[in-house]
Chain length 276, copies 7
């Protein structure tokens, strides 16, 4: 009943398995040697050119070149490895179609990554060093690749985002940004007087803070809050300086209100007393 085991030519099988293993190992070693040489060569080339170009763009170009080199290599060596297996294991296994199916499905995700990555690079949506929001994560771009984009989050976390996950790219490092401060005044205070004080602060800050490109200006009564009338101030600032400008504006506006006796009101409530 167990004579089916004899049907398999064990010597032949072991030879084949061993043969494959040696070839695979040889190719893997070769892969790492070639990759290491190529990677260093590319880095050297770009290190020389760094002086002539913009730093962020140089890094992006280097990262792309490295990526294309790596995937080209991976593709070629994958070809070698498949060519080895194709003549050995597939004769062993009847279900060769399953392997093909599996590779097809695997390739699908990878192709999605590469195609998206290709257009991100082609349309220069992202440069290394940009502050961006992609796939619900925001951070500073550390590396743009054909398959993965690496972001350094504000809290220090390193996010690896596969390019297929990137749909909308929101790039916060392209052109001037807007600073916006809302400040509340009491319903009893005079809107005109408060606006005038704020506008004076705005004009002083506009001179003092060289990160401001346009404004700041008081644009008017933004809302009727529950306990305060909300005034809005906006300015256009240099890229990346919007938060600093907002903080400056907040401090200056608070101090101007203090000096002019205008109150930033606490929540109010009218109490009607009854006795139980």
């Amino acid at each position: 009943m167990l004579d089916w085991i004899d049907d398999i030519n064990w010597t032949d099988l072991l030879l084949q398995v061993g043969n494959i293993a040696i070839r695979v190992i040889a190719i893997v070693i070769l892969y790492f040697i070639v990759k290491s040489i190529g990677t260093r060569a590319i880095r050297k080339v770009f290190n020389r050119k760094q002086d002539e170009m913009n730093l962020g763009r140089a890094k992006t170009l280097e990262s792309i070149t490295q990526n294309i080199f790596t995937y080209f290599l991976l593709f070629i060596f994958a070809g070698f490895i498949f060519s080895i297996f194709q003549f050995d294991i597939t004769t062993l296994l009847a279900g060769a179609g399953i392997v093909g199916l599996a590779i097809g499905f695997g390739a699908q995700g990878l192709v999605s990554d590469v195609v998206t990555g290709f257009f991100i690079l082609l349309e220069q949506q992202i440069d290394v060093g940009d502050y961006v929001t992609v796939a619900g994560k925001d951070g500073v771009v550390e590396e743009v690749g054909l398959r993965t984009t690496k972001l350094r989050g504000m809290d220090g976390t390193l996010h690896f985002v596969p390019n297929r996950e990137i749909t909308n790219v929101s790039n916060h490092s392209r052109g001037n940004m807007r600073a916006l401060v809302d400040i509340g005044i009491s319903y009893d205070d005079d809107i005109d007087k408060a606006t005038q004080i704020l506008q004076q602060v705005c004009e002083r800050i506009a001179v003092e803070d060289e990160n401001i490109v346009e404004g700041p200006d008081v644009i008017g009564v933004q809302a009727f809050g529950a306990s305060e009338v909300v005034l809005r101030v906006i300015a256009k600032t240099k890229n990346g300086e919007q938060w600093a400008v907002e903080r400056n504006l907040r401090k200056a506006m608070k101090e101007a209100f203090d000096q002019n006796g205008i109150e930033i009101p606490f929540p109010h409530q009218v109490h009607i007393n009854k006795n139980a």
Copy 2:
């Protein structure tokens, strides 16, 4: 055991790889030369015509022409590159079907982008300079393309939205907009008197503010709030001026209430005191 390495004709292989590399590089260089020439030519043509046409429409048309030119070029050169690889690498790799599959999947996303982009342009849903909301992002359109639409967000962020992500287009720059202000009065105040004061403010503003197209009018008691009776005022304004009109209305209404002794009430609460 390692004689399988001899099966590969190394000289031939290297020649082939080198050959391919040179052709690809030649084509890529050619691509950038042709693209650069074409792009400038198109820009020149449209710069001349800018005087005769509406600016936003001229920019849109230029951006479309540039797009079609770029993708036409990309398509042709991709054809060249594929024709090179087809006769070389695919003979090297048995798994040519995988390449085809991969390109198919890659093309799918691209075609979705282009088809959607085509109809956005055909139906003139978006012009450069319009303020729109698409795919959850809102901003001013900087460029409409066949593959990607670029929006400049209110805070200065540049959004790259692939057209496939655009389903509904909400265009805020087509025709008059509505200004809407809700204001609360005390439950003790007379609704008729408050309405009359607000209506007078409305009529004055309607004359003063040339951005108002229709109204403003007090339309009545919108809601019974927890501590106030809410009155609603609406107006029709010129496009893009709705927020300025609302701010004007808020300031004028607050000042009119102050003059007439009508209170915008704080939250009220009835307290019933018990002793523990």
Copy 3:
């Protein structure tokens, strides 16, 4: 090594490209001429008939006819253009299958739009001028098309909704609407007395306001609120007049309560005082 460039017959290629370009341009021009003539003819026909028919329906029919005409034309001319490319570029490019695949995917979305649009029109779910909610947007229908439906939002925004995005259609312009007002009375007030006062207001309004079709009626104690007993009044009104009726009812009910000394209570809270 670069002799592969000679393999391509450059003269022939350029002639072919030029030839295609001229034909495409000729067809595109022809398309716009025919479209313009057809569109005006259809408008003229419907302008004459507008007197005889209901305006909204006439506009809907015109918009449909225009749509069918446009897509019929587009279809025919697309046929011409494909027939041109089919005999030229596809011989140039080996990857003709990719083009077919791409068109198939592109067509899929378009067909979804047209099929959905066809049934929306066939079942008359939407007329021009109706106030509807589709795909999470609500507004007044400006145009119903085979591919796209245009809504004018309440705030003036123009929404372009591809028909494939439309699943449920909620049409707010078909038949009478309901006005609903909830009003709170104090836990100390007599429910019967308050109901009686409100019912009197309802009966007066029912006579005064010709937009009311049925009711209004006080239907009873809807809820025990934290600080008030909530009474509900509902009425059936003419289409589009529900909000005006609600505003009328709110004003009248508030005034009737004021006259009869029934309080709309503020939030209550029982305070138990302890000393620290």
Copy 4:
């Protein structure tokens, strides 16, 4: 260079187009005539039988018959129209496969609608006049069709729900419903006494209100609220009368508590006073 235009037999083409147009128009007219006759015939038949049957079921059956008749007709005439186009346009256009693909995709959604609709009708999940919740919309069924179900929302809106959107059907018009009233008493009040008073109210209402099928009964202490002990009363009522019963119960319970000096407590808060 433009002699390719001569390749097309213009006379023949125009004749063909005209020919198709006439046939299509003839078929469309025929379609509307047959549909109109059939629709009236079906209505007549059902009007006669309305006396003998339950009204809601009769309307449902009529609506189904109308639907099947319409789609049968549409199917036949679509067959005629396709047979016309098949012998003409498809010879003109090489891309006949695209048409087939498109129809396939279009049919998919339609078939989903019809199959779902078929089972909704077969299993009698919905009758005309039922109050149901489907696909996140609730309302009274105005028409059940093979493709679309029409609901009249509570606020008067007419919802068109494609059957494919209907997964769960929640039918609120099948059998008795439950009325549920939660009422809070003070932590100081006696639970037994309050329960007894509420139970007396329940027994009185059970006799007075003929819409009540079972109960109402006080089932006990449902929760410890922040400021009150919550008692729950439930009853079984005739279909559609649950809200009226709840309103009756609320009024009666409030009045009984007033008579017996049991308080429905306001939110409580313990205040500990410190001085700054």
Copy 5:
């Protein structure tokens, strides 16, 4: 030009259509007769056996048998009807493939329903009369079918849930349930004393209430609330009695606290008074 109409053999066509109609009607009538006979026979058989078996299981088995019978019948008669159409309409319509496609898509949903339904029945996840939560709806099972499961919601609504919508089944009628009551005591009260009082209540209830299987027990300090220390009591009860047990426990615990002078505290707040 209209002679194409002659191409169709009208007499033959009408005969065919009539012929099909008669056969379809005959088959439909036959279907209803056979179904009615079979349904009654199955009911009779199960009515006899009801005495010998558990009621819920008997109903489930009857409902399954009815289902299998119905779908078997439907399947056979569908076969007859398709065989009729296959030889007639499909010769009329060229697009037979569309019909096949449509049926395929339709079958997909149906098969999903039946396969899921089959495993629900095989693994006895649901019996008639069980209180379950499936597909976001909870209620008592009225009928388990191969295609649809009917639930009677707590408020009386009848939910029709297609089996494909059922992923997780949460069956609340299998084995003992847990009763859980959280009760707050003041930060000033002694935790040990309160625990002791509650434990005495628990022990008394454990004896009195025969629906309790295990416990109840005070398990300790569950949380530090804003104004109270939360103690938790849990018990194991007979199936379906958990809510009644919880209500009993709440009442008893409240009364025990009243007798022992332990306060269930209201929200506390410390007030620090400043003068403006």
Copy 6:
């Protein structure tokens, strides 16, 4: 016209149907006999071995063996049943392809279940008796199967989770757990003193409670609350004992604070009084 009925060989048909029915019934009976015998045999074997092995692992292995046996059986008998139908009904029905399609779709879900289940078992992600969270449900595992996993929820509910719904498995019964208690102190209290008192409590509990593996320790000021400074205490406990340890810690910390006069503060609010 009705002579088509004669075309069907009724006697033959009935014989066939009867024949099939008998075979199906015979196979079903055989299935239940074999299943019952096999199930008991497996249980017996595992009952004997239970003494030698860990109980949870023994139950898991038994449940897997039962599962594999059941599905193996089901597979074989399904083969018999299909072989019967294949030679009979499919000759009756032309649409055999539909059956194949249907089975394919049905198999898809089943295969997803089995493959996921296989890896859950292979990687020992779940044992019977583990407390896990899968597919949004948490509970104690009652049975792990190839198709379905049964969880007993904390409230007693029995969840049937198809394995395909299981993506992440969160197993709460593998290794030590963490106990975490946050406690607030007044802004007026000394952080060092409070930390010292808590640390003393921690050290005492660490000795007393043998379920604690590491800690507990006060790790510092976790947050500035609105009215309190939040201190955090964490400990490592034996598996399943984390809640008991947290309750112990809470009680002990509260009592230590009481003894040392450190207040767990109520919400604070500063009141500024104005007169209307």
Copy 7:
């Protein structure tokens, strides 16, 4: 009628089934022997090398090697098992295609896992011991595998995350992290003075706490709170020490404010008293 049973060669069938069973068991036993030997060999090799390499990297490499070995083995043995079934059962069952389909679907998920896992390892996104957030779970990596990644959650739970569920990887163990503390001061306090005190604390902590890499610094007025002006302090810390640094900063800042009489304000409210 039952003679169809004779058609099956029972003896032959049983022999076949037995034969298969024995082979399968033999292969399964062989699998476990080989796996056990291989696993131990790999562990031994890595244990020796642990001294020379970084611990986390060594563990990752070992875990990968184990994984590849296991799946390689599984693949080979699955080949044996399928080869057995292919020649036996498939001749028994007509529906061999179903098995193929099923395996294809099963393989799809597995391939997704392995491809994603491959790139996670290739790009070194995760090492054993890293603190990461993947697929909505966060924890310390216990094992990275080709199919599953195991995380130990903060509360002790062991999460098994299939690699296909991993899209974005957020690795919190790569480089320095940021500590961030927001602290509120009263609207009455001087911003400059408070900033100065905080900055002094920052400078002291910067010296004392060696886990701080950069800063901490007071960056300014982050927001106007309802009752406080919010100041923000940020620092760069060694990886994993950010929470400890934040706790240190909070304690030191609180104590510095206490010493300098700067208040961290409670929520404020302005009360306007009316009498009912």
